[in-house]
């Protein structure tokens, strides 16, 4: 079964590499949204330093929302998804592989670029690691929760706005805890508690979200 999953991940990554512009768009969106905030609130260093983790987290949230619609759409359109539903591999595992590939494409670049954005906001250097780590633990949760929303809205009219309405409220705990990690590290409390909570959320979401998304896919395709 692991072979099937590896094939699935490689296939999705290869498909993404064939359309590099779409991958780059999400990353550019992330950078632009985060860069808009200093223009909106003014260039005072103290203010920017205090809002940096929150702004970067919100930007990451919106950016990860952008790519969600594509998670199953292409496979649904060309009939591949039906073959996956009929296949011998448990659908939950297939979904987990797709979510992982989606995260590598849309979440991992955000994690890697986030220290650079944090420097724009003059965040102290010792916090860069905590911020990147919180994003590394949090963005997979966003992809996992988003998979449920993407599966539910598959093939519906006005899917994009509807998907945001369904998924954003469910993202809120991740946002609160994730942005809280760097903030409490800045106040010398240390961000361990938040990072552990994020890790817990990740384990919880990884266990249940693919299964829920699989149920949702069957409902949407039947």
């Amino acid at each position: 079964m692991l072979g099937v999953l590896r094939t699935m991940v490689c296939r999705d990554l290869l498909l993404a590499m064939r359309r590099r512009a779409e991958v780059a768009n999400v990353l550019l969106f992330f950078i632009i949204v985060a860069s808009l905030f200093p223009l909106g609130v003014g260039p005072e260093a103290n203010l920017l330093r205090s809002i940096a983790p929150g702004v970067i987290w919100v930007a990451a949230l919106l950016a990860s929302l952008l790519g969600l619609g594509r998670m199953f759409a292409a496979d649904y359109a060309d009939g591949t998804l039906e073959q996956m539903l009929l296949g011998a591999t448990p659908l939950g595992m297939t979904v987990a592989a797709k979510v992982f590939a989606h995260w590598v494409i849309s979440g991992l670049p955000l994690v890697l670029i986030s220290p650079v954005l944090a420097l724009q906001f003059d965040l102290p250097q010792e916090l860069l690691g905590v911020l990147a780590l919180s994003l590394a633990l949090g963005t997979p949760v966003l992809s996992l929760i988003g998979a449920i929303g993407a599966a539910l809205t598959l093939g519906l009219r006005g899917g994009g706005a509807l998907l945001s309405l369904l998924v954003l409220p469910l993202y809120v705990p991740v946002l609160i805890i994730g942005a809280g990690a760097a903030e409490s590290a800045a106040s010398s409390l240390g961000g361990q508690a938040q990072l552990l909570l994020l890790g817990g959320l990740l384990v919880f979401a990884a266990a249940f979200a693919p299964w829920a998304a699989a149920v949702a896919l069957r409902i949407s395709v039947e």
């Binding site: 929760i145 449920i148 539910l152 809205t153 519906l156 009219r157 006005g158 509807l162 309405l165 369904l166 954003l168 409220p169 469910l170 809120v172 705990p173 829920a212 149920v215 949702a216 409902i219 949407s220 039947e222």
Partner: protein
């Protein structure tokens, strides 16, 4: 004596029963809300610290209770529909959603009216307020998803998955007070400790909670009746009902 539980799982036989129940629960809701408001406005003593402003508690707290409770009930019906593939369960879930959203909005609205004289602000980004706001968004998401799907069976099932996922949010609402200690006061009514408020205040709140509960039942059943008529419009019994013989 065996009761035919499943008789009322078909819309045709549930429709007249729902009509009768809605009438009775509507009447009970009027009585309970009348008594509750009377206790709240005329019997309960003036609060030593907050003066008369606290009296909004008789709307605010029961509405907040109902907003969370109704989400659980909705998720219960939705889950039942998903597990047993019954038609009526999904209809009940979609009938409850607007009432739940109404009470969530009412809790936020009255909370903001209460916050201004006591805390000096309409809104604070406290955990409980925020969770209640998220609950409102969850209700909206549920209704929006169902509205976007044309096939009612798919709408029921997709809504059920969303409602069950959203149930994860309910414990967060309840435990948020302990997790993030902020401006909002801790819960003053709990099952394990003696309440810290006057007995008449508690009575008023509980009577109002029952009033809202009965109202929710009546409103949900009336809405379920409309949904039944809409979805079963091709069937014989709806045609009979339309001619005025049922």
């Amino acid at each position: 004596m065996s009761i035919k539980w499943f008789k009322y799982s078909s819309p045709q036989s549930f429709f007249p029963l729902a009509g009768k129940l809605a009438l009775w629960f509507g009447a009970l809701a009027l009585v309970a809300c009348g008594v509750g408001l009377y206790i709240g406005f005329f019997v309960a003593p003036t609060d030593a610290q907050q003066g008369e402003a606290y009296r909004i508690i008789f709307i605010h707290v029961p509405a907040a209770w109902m907003s969370m409770f109704l989400y659980l009930v909705m998720a219960f019906w939705a889950g039942l529909g998903l597990a047993f593939n019954t038609r009526l369960s999904g209809m009940m879930a979609s009938a409850i959603a607007p009432t739940g959203a109404l009470f969530t909005f009412l809790a936020l609205w009255t909370g903001s009216l209460w916050g201004k004289p006591t805390w000096g602000t309409w809104w604070v980004w406290d955990a409980r307020l925020t969770s209640e706001l998220i609950l409102l968004f969850l209700y909206f998401g549920f209704m929006a998803l169902q509205a976007a799907i044309d096939d009612p069976r798919r709408a029921d099932k997709a809504g059920a998955v969303l409602a069950l996922v959203g149930v994860v949010n309910i414990p967060i609402i309840y435990f948020s007070v302990k997790w993030w200690n902020t401006l909002h006061q801790g819960a003053s009514v709990s099952l394990t400790q003696a309440p810290t408020m006057a007995a008449t205040m508690l009575t008023g709140m509980v009577v109002m909670a029952f009033g809202f509960w009965f109202y929710s039942i009546a409103a949900a059943l009336m809405r379920a009746r409309c949904i039944m008529l809409e979805r079963e419009r091709a069937s014989e019994w709806v045609a009979d009902y339309g001619r005025g013989s049922a």
